[in-house]
C-alpha cells in the first residue's frame, strides 16, 4: 500500500560551473563535455512523507535546506533522482513576494492568486476569503505601501493559504507578525494537517520545530544524515553544534557523537557528545524521602574520572520539560565556581543544590562536562554532553495552590 503524498528518491542536485559559459551553450546542443566543477549541494536524498505528517527540515546554513525545498516546490529541477508529489504544493518561501506597494491589498491579492494559477472565478471567491482571514478590514482596499510589515505578512499568508494544498512548505517567514495572527496561522496549518496536508517546515527555532513537527530531517553538507522524531533530531543537531564550537588542539583526541538507547519510548534516538577520556561518570539525585516532590531540596551530584589530565574541568546541568522547553541550564563555569587541574584517574566532583520548585511532571535532565571555559559560556573542549541523560519525575508537594512551570513562591496579600 502506498500512502505517501511525497516520495523523494535518490535526489541529487548539482550546480554545474563551466570553465567558459560557451561550454554550457555547447552542452545544450550536445557538443563538448560537462564542466569540471559540478558542485553537489544535495546527494542521495530519499524519504517519504505521509498525508498529514509534519516534518521539520533541520540543518546549518548551506546544508541544502532551501535547495531541497525549492526542488520539492518545483522552482528548481533535480539533477538526478525523482520527486513524486501526489497533489498540489504551496510554498510560503518568502511572504509578500512580488507585492506592488502602489496597488491595493485587493489588487495585489488578485495578482498573487493569478500567479498561483487561480482562474478568474476562483480568484474572485478567494478574495473574499483572503479579506476575511487577513482581517485587514478597510486596509484591504488601501495601497500596500501603507501597510506595516505585520499587515503585509497577514495578506501574504492569507493569499498563500487561500487554497488548501496537499503539501505546504513553510520557511522561516512565519516568524513575523503579531502573536494573535501567528496563532491564527498555526491554527490554519493545523486544520490543513487534519484535512490531510503534509507540512514541510524549516526553522532555526528549536521550540517552533518541536511544537509543530512530529518528524525531523537533518541535512548535513547536502546529505540526509538523520530521519527520526523531531525531538531526537533536534537533540542530535544541538550536540553536533556544541561539538563544532570547541577548539581542538593538535594531538588532542576529538569528541564524537554516540548513539545511545533513548530514555523514553517515544524517542527514536539519543545522541551523546563524548570524548573517550571520560572513564567513569555517575550522576546522583539526592533528596529526602522516597520520591522527589515539588518544593523538596534536591542535590544533583556529578562524579567523573578522566583518563587524561585536564587543566580546568567544569560540570553542567539542565532541566527540560516534555515539550523541550529548557527551564534551566547552567554550569560551574557560568555560575562562577573556580576549578583547577585534575590529573588522570583522579575523582572530579560537582554538586548543584537547589529547591526543586518544578511543577509536578516528568522532566529530562541534561548533563555536561567540559574543560577550560572562555568568554561568557564557551569551553575549549567539550568532554560529555547528554540532553536526555535521565528522565525524572516530580510529584505534587505540599504547596498545591498554583500552576505553571515553576513555583515562584510569591507572598500574596489582600488588603481591604
Amino acid at each position: 500500500m502506498n500512502t505517501s503524498i511525497l516520495d523523494v528518491m535518490g535526489l541529487e542536485k548539482c550546480f554545474h560551473s563551466y570553465a567558459r559559459e560557451r561550454h554550457r551553450f555547447m552542452a545544450w546542443i550536445g557538443l563538448g563535455k560537462q564542466g569540471p566543477g559540478a558542485k553537489k549541494v544535495l546527494e542521495n536524498i530519499s524519504f517519504r512523507i505521509a498525508p498529514g505528517e509534519a516534518v521539520g527540515v533541520i540543518g546549518e546554513n548551506g546544508a541544502g535546506k532551501s535547495t531541497l525545498l525549492k526542488l520539492i516546490a518545483g522552482t528548481m529541477r533535480p539533477t538526478r533522482g525523482t520527486i513524486r508529489v501526489d497533489g498540489t504544493v504551496s510554498a510560503i518561501l518568502e511572504l509578500g513576494m512580488g507585492f506592488n506597494g502602489e496597488f491595493t491589498g485587493r489588487r495585489n491579492a488578485y495578482h498573487a492568486a493569478a500567479l498561483l494559477g487561480f482562474s478568474r472565478a476562483d480568484a474572485g471567491g478567494a478574495l473574499e476569503e483572503i479579506c476575511r482571514f487577513s482581517e485587514l478590514g478597510g486596509h484591504f482596499d488601501q495601497p500596500v505601501r501603507t501597510y506595516s510589515s505585520g499587515m503585509r505578512m497577514r495578506l501574504a499568508f492569507s493569499v498563500a493559504t487561500a487554497r488548501r494544498p496537499d503539501i505546504l512548505i513553510v520557511d522561516e517567514a512565519l516568524s513575523v507578525g503579531d502573536a494573535y495572527f501567528q496563532h491564527k496561522c498555526m491554527q490554519r496549518i493545523r486544520a490543513f494537517r487534519e484535512a490531510g496536508t503534509a507540512l514541510l517546515f524549516v526553522s532555526h527555532s528549536q521550540h517552533a520545530l518541536r511544537m509543530l513537527c512530529s518528524r525531523g530531517l537533518l541535512l548535513e553538507h547536502g546529505r540526509l544524515v538523520m530521519d527520526a522524531d523531531a525531538a531526537s533530531v533536534i537533540d542530535y543537531y544541538r550536540a553536533a553544534t556544541v561539538r563544532k564550537c570547541e577548539i581542538n588542539e593538535p594531538g588532542d583526541p576529538g569528541s564524537r557523537l554516540e548513539g545511545l538507547p533513548p530514555v523514553t519510548p517515544e524517542r527514536q534516538a539519543r545522541t551523546v557528545l563524548s570524548r573517550g577520556t571520560v572513564e567513569e561518570l555517575s550522576v546522583d539525585m539526592l533528596f529526602d524521602g522516597d520520591a522527589l516532590r515539588s518544593g523538596d531540596w534536591l542535590t544533583i551530584r556529578i562524579r567523573a574520572r578522566f583518563s587524561g589530565h585536564y587543566p580546568e574541568p567544569h560540570a553542567g546541568i539542565g532541566v527540560r520539560n516534555a515539550l523541550g522547553v529548557v527551564i534551566y541550564e547552567a554550569n560551574t563555569y557560568t555560575l562562577g565556581c573556580a576549578s583547577g587541574p585534575v590529573a588522570a584517574g583522579r575523582l572530579f566532583t560537582a554538586a548543584f543544590r537547589f529547591r526543586c520548585d518544578l511543577f509536578p511532571d516528568t522532566y529530562e535532565l541534561m548533563i555536561g562536562l567540559a574543560d577550560t571555559g572562555y568568554d561568557k559560556d564557551a569551553f575549549e573542549r567539550s568532554l560529555f554532553f547528554d540532553q536526555a541523560f535521565r528522565i525524572f519525575e516530580v510529584l505534587p508537594g505540599v504547596d498545591t495552590g498554583w500552576t505553571g512551570l515553576y513555583n515562584l513562591r510569591p507572598r500574596a496579600e489582600v488588603h481591604l
Binding site: 559559459e21 525549492k70 522552482t75 528548481m76 510554498a91 493569478a114 500567479l115 480568484a123
Partner: protein
Amino acid sequence: MGMIHDIWRYRHFIVSSVHSELATRFVRSRLGGLWMIVQPLAQVLMYALILSAVLSAKLPGMEDTRFAYAVYLLAGIAGWSLFSEVVGRSARVFIENAELMKKMVFPRICLPLIVAGTALVNHAFLFAAAFLVFVALGHPPQADLAWLPMVVLVNLGLAMGLGLVLGVFNVFVRDVGQLVDLALQYGFWFTPIVYMPQILPENIRFLLQFNPLYWVVTGYQNILVFHAPPAPGGLALVAALAALFLLAALRLFRRAAPEMVDVL
C-alpha cells in the same frame, strides 16, 4: 502543446501583470489612465507641430503634403520602439524577475509574453494618438491601413524571437544585456527612421536591405505615409526570419529553462 496549455492556464496572470506594469506608471497621478493617451499624444503633437510647422521639414517627393515628414517620423519611431522595447526588455526579463522565478512555480514563458503584451498596448495607444492628431490635421488614414496588423505581427514576432534568445543568454552571460543596449542604439541609426534611404550614399545604401528592420519600418512608412502596401517580398522574408527566430528561441528556452534558476 504543453506550453500553450500553460499559457492559457496562466492567462489571468499575464493579463494582470500587463495591467500592473501599465498602471504602476500613473497609479498616484491625478489624471491616472488618461496619461496612457496624453503622453503619446504629446509626442505626436511635437512631431506634427514642431517638425512640420516650425522647422517645415519636407519629405523629398512629398513637398505638397504639409505633415508628411511628421507622419514619416512617427511611422518609423512607432515601428522601431515596439521592436526595441520588446528586444531590450526581453533581454532582461529573466534577470529582473529572478526572485520571482526562484520562489514561485509558474510557466516561465509568461514573462516574455508580459513584456510583449505591455509593449503592444503602448504601441496601440501611440497609434490611437497618431490617428487622432492626423485626422484633426486633415491627414486621415487610408484603406492601406488593413496591412498594419500584418506588419505589427511580423515586427512583434521578430522582436520576441530575438528577445527571448538574448534573454536566455543574458542569464548566463550578463554582458549580453549591455551589448543589446549598444546594438539597439546603433540599430536606430542604421534604420531609415529619421532619414530617407535615398539620402544614403549609393555604395552603402544596399546594406540596408540586410537589416530586417528596414523592411519592417518601411512597411509602416508605406502604409502610413505613402498609402501603399508594404514590399511583399521583403516582409515575407522577415516573417520567415521571425518564425525561424521564434522556433529557435523556444527550443533554446526549453533547453535552458531548468538551468536558469540555478544561476540566477
